[in-house]
Symmetry: C2
Subunit: 538 residues, 2 copies
C-alpha cells in the first residue's frame, strides 16, 4: 500500500497529479438522464477571495511562542487549504473563488502540551479554534467558522502523528491524532497488524478525525465502527484534560470515551487514542453477487448479521445503483456484461448488486465464505465471482475523484447516509428516496454497514447543477432529505458526522434532554466557547 502525500488539491479531492477518471460510458448516461453543463473555469489560487486576517499581532506572537514561528502560517495556500473540508458546498464555494471560511492562521502543535498551550492562548484572547486532521469532512466539520469571535485559527494536528506504543500481546496501539489512515496501516503492517478501518476517505483521513466523528469503514461488518475499537482516549480541553484510561471492560460509571468520541472538536482535542488492532489477514477475498431485488438482498444481510455469519465487507446496491454501476463501469463493459447476463438469465427488470468480502486466514476465509454464501443463496443470490469484487476493491477510495469530474461538468453530486432498525429500513428508504427524487434526476442507494438490529442506508444523487445558485440548490435538497430522515425515525448521520450540515437536526436526534447534557459538558470544558463553534450543537 502506497502512502499518499498528505496535501490535497485545494479545489477538490486528493492527489494533485490525479487525472480524474470518469468512466467513458458514464457521459452518455449523465447526458441523457441528468444533463451536463459547462461551469466557468476554476479560479487560480491567487484569484480566491480570502477574508482579511483578523488575528491580533499580540495573539499571533503568543501562538508563535507556544509552537514556534514555522508552525504558525497565514500564507494564502495554508489558509485556503484549511477553509473547510470536502463537502459539496465546501468545493463549490472554493470553485467560485469564495474562501470566506478560511482561518486567520493555521497553527500546528507538535505535542499534547503545545495543544494545551494553544488552547490557553485562544481561550484568553477569545479566538475560535477549529481542530483539523485530514480535512476530509463532508459535513462542514472543519470549516473555520469564527462563531461570535473576531478571529479563528485552524489547529492542524498533522505533526502529532506518532504511533507511540504497540502492545502486541493485548493487540492495542497508542496513536496520535494526526496520523493518516495509510500511515497507521503501514506502521502496523510492519508488525503484521492492522486497524482494519477503511472509510472511503481512508487515504487522507486522520485517525483523530475518525474517532472525533465516529467514522465507520467499508469493512465495518467485520471490524466494527471506529468507536468499537477505541479503548482509551486523552482529550485536551481549554480547562482540563479528560482521560479515559485504557481498559477492556468496566462498570465504573458513565463511559467517558463515548462522550468524547463524536464530540467533533467542540469539547477539546483528542491527542492520544488507544486502538484495538488485529493480526493482518492473510487473505482478502471480495466477490460480487446479484440478488433478484434490493429487498431480497437486504433480507440476506439481515440474516447474516443476526445469525453471526457476518462477512467483513457487506455492501448491497439498490436496483438503481446497480443499473447505474453496471452501465458506467470503466472495465471494458465487464460489469455490464455480467449484469446483462444476470438479467437475461432471470428475465427480471432489475437486480441488486452486492459486494461481499472476507479478510482472515486462508482457512477461515474459506469456511466463513461457505457460511455466508449459504445464506446469500437462500435469498436468490447468484455469484458473479472475484472479478467484480476486485473491481470494487480497486475503486473503493475513488468516489471523491469522480465527484470532482462531475463538478467540472456541471453536475450536482452529493451523498448522504442514515441508519435504522431492520423493521423500519424500507419505510425509511422509500421516504428518503421519494424526497430526493423531487430534486435529483438520479437517486441511488446502498446498504454498507450492517448490525444485528439494523443497517445503514447510503444515498448518492445526481442533478443538473443550478448554475445561478448551486449551494442553494444543494441546501434545499439536503433539507428535504433531512426532514424525511427524522420524520421516519432514521439517525441524521450513520458515519459522516454532524458538523455544520447535520446540526439543524441534532435537536430531533437527541431531544431537549440530550442537548442540555451536551451543552452542560461543553460549558464545563470550554466555558469561553472557543472550540469549533457552529458545529454539532450550534
Amino acid at each position: 500500500m502506497s502512502i499518499p502525500d498528505r496535501t490535497m488539491r485545494w479545489w477538490g479531492w486528493g492527489d494533485p497529479g490525479h487525472h480524474g477518471g470518469l468512466p467513458v460510458p458514464a457521459l452518455p448516461l449523465l447526458q441523457a438522464e441528468v444533463g451536463l453543463g459547462t461551469p466557468p473555469p476554476r479560479p487560480t489560487l491567487d484569484e480566491v477571495r480570502l477574508p482579511d486576517i483578523a488575528l491580533p499581532a499580540a495573539v499571533r506572537d503568543r501562538l508563535v511562542a507556544a509552537v514556534g514561528a514555522e508552525a504558525v502560517r497565514d500564507d494564502r495556500e495554508s489558509r485556503v487549504l484549511h477553509a473547510g473540508g470536502k463537502s459539496y458546498p465546501n468545493l463549490m464555494r472554493l470553485r467560485t473563488g469564495d474562501a470566506s471560511t478560511a482561518p486567520d492562521a493555521v497553527v500546528s502543535p507538535a505535542t499534547s502540551e503545545q495543544v494545551k498551550a494553544v488552547l490557553e492562548v485562544c481561550a484568553e484572547a477569545g479566538v475560535a479554534v477549529v481542530p483539523f486532521g485530514g480535512g476530509t469532512s463532508v459535513v462542514g466539520g472543519v470549516d473555520a467558522l469564527r462563531g461570535t469571535f473576531n478571529a479563528v485559527v485552524s489547529l492542524d494536528l498533522g505533526r502529532l502523528d506518532a504511533v507511540r506504543t504497540v502492545d502486541e500481546r493485548s493487540l492495542l496501539a497508542v496513536v496520535e491524532p494526526g496520523l493518516r489512515g495509510p500511515e497507521l496501516e503501514a506502521a502496523l503492517g510492519d508488525r503484521g497488524l492492522t486497524l482494519g478501518h477503511f472509510p472511503q476517505s481512508f487515504e487522507y483521513a486522520s485517525i483523530g478525525g475518525m474517532v472525533a466523528t465516529r467514522s465507520s469503514g467499508q469493512a465495518s461488518a467485520g471490524y466494527g465502527r471506529i468507536d468499537a475499537n477505541v479503548l482509551g482516549l486523552r482529550c485536551v480541553t481549554p480547562t482540563v484534560d479528560v482521560v479515559a484510561s485504557t481498559v477492556p471492560g468496566t462498570a465504573a460509571g458513565p463511559d467517558l470515551r463515548e462522550l468524547l468520541m463524536g464530540s467533533e472538536g467542540t469539547l477539546g482535542v483528542l491527542t492520544e487514542m488507544t486502538l484495538r488492532v488485529r493480526r493482518a489477514p492473510d487473505e482478502k477475498r471480495y466477490e460480487g453477487f446479484m440478488f433478484p431485488s434490493f429487498a431480497a438482498g437486504s433480507e440476506a444481510l439481515r440474516v447474516l448479521a443476526q445469525e453471526g455469519v457476518t462477512p467483513d465487507v457487506a455492501r448491497l446496491s439498490d436496483e438503481e445503483e446497480t443499473r447505474v454501476s453496471l452501465t458506467i463501469a470503466d472495465d471494458g463493459g465487464l460489469k455490464s456484461q455480467l449484469g446483462r447476463r444476470y438479467l437475461d438469465l432471470r428475465n427480471v427488470s432489475g437486480g441488486a448488486l452486492a459486494i461481499v468480502g472476507w479478510e482472515d486466514t486462508v482457512e477461515r476465509v474459506g469456511r466463513r465464505r461457505d457460511a455466508t454464501v449459504d445464506v446469500l443463496k437462500r435469498y436468490g443470490a447468484i455469484g458473479l465471482g472475484r472479478t467484480v469484487g476486485n473491481a470494487w476493491e480497486q475503486g473503493r477510495f475513488h468516489g471523491p475523484y469522480l465527484r470532482d469530474d462531475l463538478l467540472d461538468r456541471g453536475v450536482m453530486v452529493d451523498t448522504l447516509e442514515t441508519a435504522t432498525t431492520w423493521s423500519n429500513l424500507f419505510t425509511l428508504y422509500r421516504a428518503v428516496d421519494a424526497a430526493l427524487r423531487e430534486r435529483a434526476a438520479v437517486v441511488m442507494c446502498h446498504v454498507s454497514h450492517i448490525y444485528p438490529g439494523g443497517a445503514s442506508l447510503y444515498f448518492t444523487l445526481f442533478a443538473r447543477q443550478d448554475a445561478e445558485d448551486p449551494i442553494g440548490q444543494w441546501h434545499r435538497t439536503k433539507v428535504a432529505a433531512g426532514e424525511a430522515i427524522v420524520a421516519r425515525g432514521g439517525t441524521i448521520t450513520h458515519h459522516h458526522g454532524v458538523g455544520v450540515d447535520h446540526a439543524p437536526w441534532m435537536g430531533a436526534e437527541i431531544g431537549d434532554g440530550g442537548g442540555r447534557v451536551l451543552r452542560a459538558v461543553k460549558a464545563e470544558l470550554d466555558p469561553v466557547g472557543i472550540m469549533n463553534p457552529g458545529k454539532l450543537l450550534p
Copy 2:
C-alpha cells in the same frame, strides 16, 4: 426456568425457603484454614433498629397523590428490605440489628409519568431519592442514604415491569426497568428469544439495575456486557427526560446511552430500555477443562478472544480457587476425584480449572466447540467432560446463599473484581492477591470475562470474622484491594458497579477531568442533588 418470588430474605440472599447448602466437605477446610466462629443469633425483624421517619406528612401526602396510597409504604418490613443491597457490610449491619440506612418510605410508581411526578415532589421538598430495582447491589448502590437532606425515599421500580414491545425482525425488545431477569427471559422465551444476560444475581436482579450499573453476565464472552446490548434508553430526571433513540449505529455526536448507562441512579431513573435480543439457543453445552496452570489457561483465553473463536462462557480459576473448588465440591467427591486424577496424571502440584460453554444451534455448538478445544489443547488443557460443566451450571446462581451460610459461621467472605489488558493481567493479579493475603486466609481468583484487549479478575476471599468490628475489618480489606488495583492500572470495578464502596477510587479511575464532566451533567439534570446521594461520585 422457574420464576422466583421477588422478595428476598431481609438478612440475606434470596428465597426465604432456601435451606442453605454449604457443602459438607467445606467445613473441615474452613475450620482448618480460616477458622469458624459462633456469631450471636440474627435479630428478629422486630428487633432491628430503624431511624425515626423523617418524611414530612405534607410531602408524604403529595407522594400519595402522585402514586396512590398503597404505593407509599413505611411499614417496618418495607423499610428494612430497602435499607440497602446485598453487600457484606449491608448484611452485617442488618445481622447486628442496624437498619440505619433504611428509607423513610418506599414509593412504587407504576408509570414513567409517576416517576416524573415523584421526582418533582422530592426535588421541591428536598428529599433524597434512591432508585431500587432488584436490590442486589454488592457495592452499596441502593443504600438509602440521605446525603444532605433530612429525608429519603426508596423508589421501588417493581411495578414498572412490562415488556412493552418485541420487534422480532430487528431482534429488539423494549422493556421497563423493574422486570427481573427470569421474568424477562420467560417473556422472551415464549417467542423463542433470549437476552442471554446471566449475572450471578440473575434470579433477583432487575433489568434497569443491570443497565444502570453496567452489569456483565456469566456468558458475556458470547453475548457481551449489558452495555453492548442496549440500543435505546429513556431516563427521567428531576429536570428533563433524556432520550437516546433506538438506532443500530450512528455518528450523531457523543453517545448519550453510554452516559446514562453506569449512572447508577445519580442522574435519574431509566424507565425504558431497548435491548438487543437473540434467538434462544437450541443447545447449551458446558464442559470442564484442567490447565497445567492459571498462566497457561489465561494464554488460552487470550488466544480465544483474539482469534475470534470465543466460546459463550469462559471461566478460569487460579490454582487456589481450583484447589478449594475441588475440595469443597458438593457432588459426592466427583470433582475432587477428577481433580486428583488430573493431578496424578500430570504429576504437578496444582492445576487451573476452566468452565467453557457454548449456547447456539446444535450444529454450531459442535463446530464452535471444536475450534475452541483446538486452542485449549494447545495450552495443555485436559477435558473433564460435561459433568463438571453441568455442576457449574447447577450452581451458577448459588454463591450468595453460600455466603449467608458462611456468615452464620463467623466467616468474612467477600468478592471483588477488576479488569485490565492482557499484558498487565498477571502484574495486577499478583498485586491484588498479595494485598488480600495480608488480611485473608483464603484468597482465590478467576477470570470470567474476556475481551480481545484484556480480561477481568474476580477475587473471593475468606477470613475469620473479627467479631468486635466486622465492618472495620471488611473496610480495611477493601481499601487494601482498592489501592492495589489502582496502583497497578486495573479498573476499580469490572461489573459490580461503583455505589458507595468503590466511590473513593473514582477519582483515580476517571481523573479530575472525568469528575468535572460527570458533575456538570449531574448539576444540569439534578440541580438539587436528590438522586442517589453518596453514590458514584460523592
